[in-house]
């Protein structure tokens, strides 16, 4: 007990909440530097500004959530920007045309395929349940026939419904179903190539990024770099819902973002799927040998990423009243930056949606503060780069390390705090136990600098053998 006990408690607390400290510091900086309006209101803190930030970060946030899942498995998805742009182009064209276009040509078959696949999968799952309950198995031909039939029916129904929608131009519900389905299909394709083709995610999604950008441009047409959407004149009025402010404070895109955050955090924390994601990122071979269907989980993760990217595409169209093939340029890098600022390890296995949420907010507030202070946009980029580096450095180092606390109190070498603080994979805990440190030191480029190495007790490496 005594001062050392409190020091440990304090340090544990700081380690666990480290993620939020950078956000709080940034907010403090924002409040202090913010200009004040003529009525004496701090503009940074005004509800208008805060709700604007939420609106601005929504797109990047939704994409970053998908990216978090991918990165947690140890992969990367570079194609999200292009898929988002394709989503915005499809969305704009479906909204504004009442005849068959290149957009329907791409979207309908893909939609039909996705519906067929999902229905077939669901049917097969239900049949499995039924078999289990009845205690006997349907023959494999019967089963294939039944699932195939269900899929075919679903595909035809989806096509017919979508085609019926075209007559009256697509409404908001229509695009919210069709466009994400297309993104899902592209993401699924990413995952399929990565797992079955045994290729690096980096290169597969890079190729997809280039290819889908091309598809987006082809769909948009040579002469039409931008497809404007004017609700009320060339598109249905109700599409405006996606850019409105609820109760004059809450932006609808922000709601989408928050919903995606909550759903995916739930998915990661309490479901088997979430566990598998962490297990694959932590040790893919161990997961595979434990009977985890690694390939399926990975495919699902890329599909979700594609789905969310194209959902962001719909919101982009609503926000900027246009669909354009170049909308997503650089998007993937923003998303990766937010994920990494949120403390998710690029090696996989460690991180959280909460971290990404904070990372996205840090990113958003940063731009907001720079804009409020009228900093020229090129200088903004330079500052952003520096601040991303600083933020990541804070996330990767333990706080004690940064503040030199470790030298003030001689810590027990068995890492008891670190081990406790480590259990739920929250990203802010970098006081890693022996072997984790060891792995990080060798694996993580940021750790090659070595400033963390001297903190390791000399027997750390031996302990873990």
């Amino acid at each position: 007990m005594g001062s050392r006990f409190y020091a440990e408690v304090l340090s544990t607390f700081l380690l666990r909440t480290k993620l939020y400290w950078s956000l709080l510091i940034l907010l403090a900086v924002g409040i202090i530097t913010s200009p004040v309006s003529s009525k004496g209101v701090n503009i940074f803190l005004s509800t208008g500004n805060l709700s604007d930030v939420l609106r601005q970060v929504s797109n990047n946030g939704i994409v970053a959530v998908g990216m978090t899942l991918v990165i947690l498995t140890g992969g990367i998805d570079l194609s999200v920007g292009s898929i988002m742009a394709l989503g915005s182009v499809l969305c704009a064209m479906l909204l504004t045309h009442d005849e068959r276009t290149s957009a329907t040509l791409l979207a309908f078959p893909v939609l039909a395929a996705v519906c067929a696949f999902c229905t077939a999968w669901g049917a097969s799952y239900l049949m499995g349940l039924r078999d289990h309950a009845a205690g006997k198995k349907l023959s494999s031909t019967h089963r294939a026939l039944a699932t195939g039939l269900a899929g075919l029916v679903a595909a035809l129904a989806a096509w017919w419904l979508a085609a019926a929608q075209v007559q009256s131009k697509f409404g908001v519900i229509g695009v919210l179903i069709v466009v994400p389905a297309v993104g899902l299909a592209f993401g699924w394709f990413n995952g399929l190539i990565i797992t079955k083709g045994r290729l690096q995610p980096f290169i597969v999604t890079l190729a997809m990024m280039v290819g889908v950008l091309g598809i987006a441009r082809v769909v948009a047409g040579q002469d039409a770099a931008v497809h404007p959407v004017y609700t009320g004149t060339n598109a249905t009025e109700d599409f405006d819902i996606l850019r409105s402010l609820l109760y004059r404070i809450v932006p609808v895109p922000g709601l989408f973002f928050l919903a995606v955050v909550v759903l995916s955090a739930t998915l990661l924390r309490v479901t088997t799927f979430g566990r598998y994601v962490y297990a694959i990122g932590g040790n893919e071979q161990a997961a595979r040998l434990s009977g985890v269907e690694v390939d399926r989980v990975k495919i699902a993760v890329y599909a979700i990423s594609g789905f969310l990217a194209s959902l962001a595409g719909v919101l982009y169209t609503a926000q900027y009243r246009q669909g354009k093939p170049d909308a997503g340029v650089g998007m993937e890098l923003d998303a990766i930056a937010a994920v990494v600022i949120g403390g998710t390890s690029l090696m996989g296995g460690k991180g959280s949606i909460a971290g990404t949420f904070v990372g996205v907010l840090i990113f958003g507030f940063l731009s907001n503060i720079l804009q409020l202070n009228n900093i020229d946009s090129n200088t903004q980029l330079v500052l952003k780069g520096g601040i991303i580096l600083a933020a990541v450095l804070v996330q990767e180092r333990s706080l004690g390390d940064l503040l030199g606390l470790k030298y003030l109190f001689s810590w027990r070498s068995d890492h008891s705090i670190a081990a406790q603080a480590h259990h739920d994979f929250s990203p802010q805990q970098t006081g890693t136990p022996a072997s984790a440190t060891e792995r990080q030191l060798t694996d993580h480029p940021l750790n090659k600098g070595g400033s963390g190495q001297h903190l390791q007790p000399s027997n750390a490496k031996l302990d873990s053998n």
Partner: protein, 538 residues
């Protein structure tokens, strides 16, 4: 080398080893797997530097900080796994790290290198173009490139770690001729090998290591094969003898019991097939019954792990054979299917294949049974905590908290976590691959007790181990493998280290008549399964 000791963690790998190598001598270093041969030579080669003891080269005391230091005084080590860059040419590999430069530094003089390489290759009677990429060469030729590399650095002491393990007889002969010539020209050679004939043919002196200590160092002339085997394995057998004799007394008649797991003609493709060894595992057949432990014995590279992995569907290369569980023919294409069939595999390398090291013990324990712990995808935290508490108690896993990261546990406790997570799947057949590798004596004893327990509870166990005493104490029968093929199936009363070593070593005795390529019977061929290349981990 005088009084050299080395520890990995709490495990003594080398204890006070004295090793003298005379000029121009071929000195064989022998011992079981894990006896410390490679470790000793890695110290000599400057790879490990945190050892105790003295080393002197040509009378000069030395202490190397890096392999470069070692090569500077003329020591070259050729490791079992060759250290060549496949995409680079022969000449580039020979001079890797010691490039000939001309004028400006960094400007490699390719022509000079090629000429020098050709000259060295010539002295080895090795007709290969210095410009050929190493990946085009066969293993035996690559070995010669390694020798050439050592010569290029003017090595006077050459350490070769099992150089012939991947070579055909002709290639090995050629290498031996070169070794003899080098030795006659004054070079000293340390030759590590399991193959007795080679050692008798080549070496003037033989040193045997056992459990990290010198078991004996004697002139090769006048030593018998039997003596050598005794030196290599004649240790702590008595430690387990009491346990064993009890077992022998109540040995059940296993032949009467129906097998739970029955494997016929199991084979697995070799990634780099050679004429002498076209398959990694070939024609392996065995039965295991409830409450039986079948041991798999064999030297390093005999294919023990591969047998277990192939059965478990964890191997990525094409494989085949008949696997019956309770008499039912099954196809196991993936670990998931193996798990469903009631199999569990505790892998050799728990860190690489067994545990998510950064995740908690509870996370690791729940991983294989997550589906059973959850309702409609949602994991029950309570069920998970109960499971963790139960397994930690029943196996005596020492943790501060169930959430402690698995990577922070000691080796023995990590191994218990891996065992526990598989026991939770209620397997009928347990495949254990080196379950006590790298863990301390206390934990070993606990694992032994656990295996006995599981056996008494009626599990069928297949145990692969390189430690003969362990294998003999725990197994009811032992299948001996040599280069992927079974050579003997021994009953408990027949167990003896000498006999097992004899069946395991190349050129030794053969009890079984090997049937040739799998599926010589037509009906066997039809049911062969091929698992398409599902590679694990990038």
């Amino acid at each position: 080398m005088q009084g050299v000791s080395k520890t990995f963690g709490k495990i003594d790998v080398l204890r006070n080893v004295d090793f003298d190598l005379r000029a121009g001598e071929i000195h064989a270093l022998m011992g079981e797997n894990g006896a410390g041969k490679s470790t000793l030579m890695k110290i000599a080669g400057g790879i490990y530097h945190d050892y105790r003891g003295e080393m002197a080269v040509f009378g000069e005391p030395v202490r190397f900080a890096s392999p470069r230091d070692a090569s500077r005084v003329g020591i070259a080590v050729i490791h079992q796994e060759l250290n060549l860059v496949p995409a680079m040419t022969v000449a580039e590999n020979i001079f890797l790290g010691y490039e000939k430069v001309r004028g400006i530094p960094f400007l490699v003089d390719r022509n000079a290198q090629a000429r020098a390489a050709a000259r060295i290759l010539d002295t080895l009677n090795f007709q290969a173009s210095p410009h050929a990429p190493v990946s085009n060469l066969r293993i035996g030729e690559q070995q010669l490139v390694e020798v050439a590399k050592a010569l290029a650095q003017n090595a006077r002491i050459l350490v070769m770690d099992e150089p012939t393990s991947a070579l055909s007889v002709a290639e090995a002969e050629r290498l031996h001729a070169i070794i003899r010539r080098l030795s006659s020209e004054g070079a000293s050679i340390v030759y590590i090998s399991h193959r007795m004939e080679e050692v008798f043919n080549l070496a003037q002196t033989i040193t045997v290591l056992r459990d990290g200590a010198v078991a004996g160092s004697l002139p090769a002339a006048g030593v018998s094969r039997r003596d050598l085997i005794r030196l290599m394995v004649g240790r702590d057998v008595q430690e387990f003898l009491s346990l064993r004799s009890k077992e022998v007394a109540r040995e059940p008649d296993l032949d009467l019991k129906p097998p739970v797991l029955s494997v016929r003609n199991l084979w697995l493709t070799h990634p780099k097939p050679t004429v002498s060894r076209p398959r990694l595992v070939d024609g392996v057949s065995f039965d295991v019954a409830d409450g039986e432990v079948l041991g798999l014995a064999g030297l390093m590279g005999a294919g023990r792990s591969e047998v277990l992995e192939t059965i478990f569907g964890a191997q990525t290369m094409a494989s085949g054979g008949h696997i019956r569980i309770n008499g039912q023919l099954v196809t196991i294409g993936s670990p998931t299917e193996a798990k469903q069939a009631g199999l569990a595999l505790v892998t050799e390398d728990r860190k690489r294949d067994g545990l998510v090291l950064d995740a908690g013990v509870d996370f690791n324990l729940a991983l294989p049974v997550l589906k059973q712990l959850s309702a409609a995808m949602f994991v029950s935290r309570k069920a998970e905590n109960d499971l963790a508490a139960r397994q930690i108690r029943s196996l005596g896993i020492r943790v501060r908290s169930p959430r402690q990261a698995a990577g922070t546990l000691s080796g023995g406790n990590q191994q218990k976590v891996v065992l526990a997570k598989w026991l939770e799947t209620s397997p009928r057949i347990l495949l254990l691959d080196e379950p006590t590798r790298g863990i301390d004596v206390g934990a070993k004893a606990e694992i032994y007790r656990l295996i006995q327990d599981l056996k008494d509870r009626g599990l069928a166990v297949v145990l692969a181990s390189s430690e003969l005493p362990e294998l003999m104490a725990l197994s009811d029968r032992i299948l001996v493998l040599r280069e992927g093929q079974p050579t003997a199936l021994l009953k408990k009363i027949e167990f003896s280290p000498d006999l097992i070593m004899d069946y395991a070593s190349p050129g030794g005795a053969v009890q079984m008549v090997f049937q040739g390529v799998a599926g010589s019977a037509p009906e066997a061929e039809s049911a062969d399964r091929i698992t398409a290349g599902r590679r694990a981990g990038g």
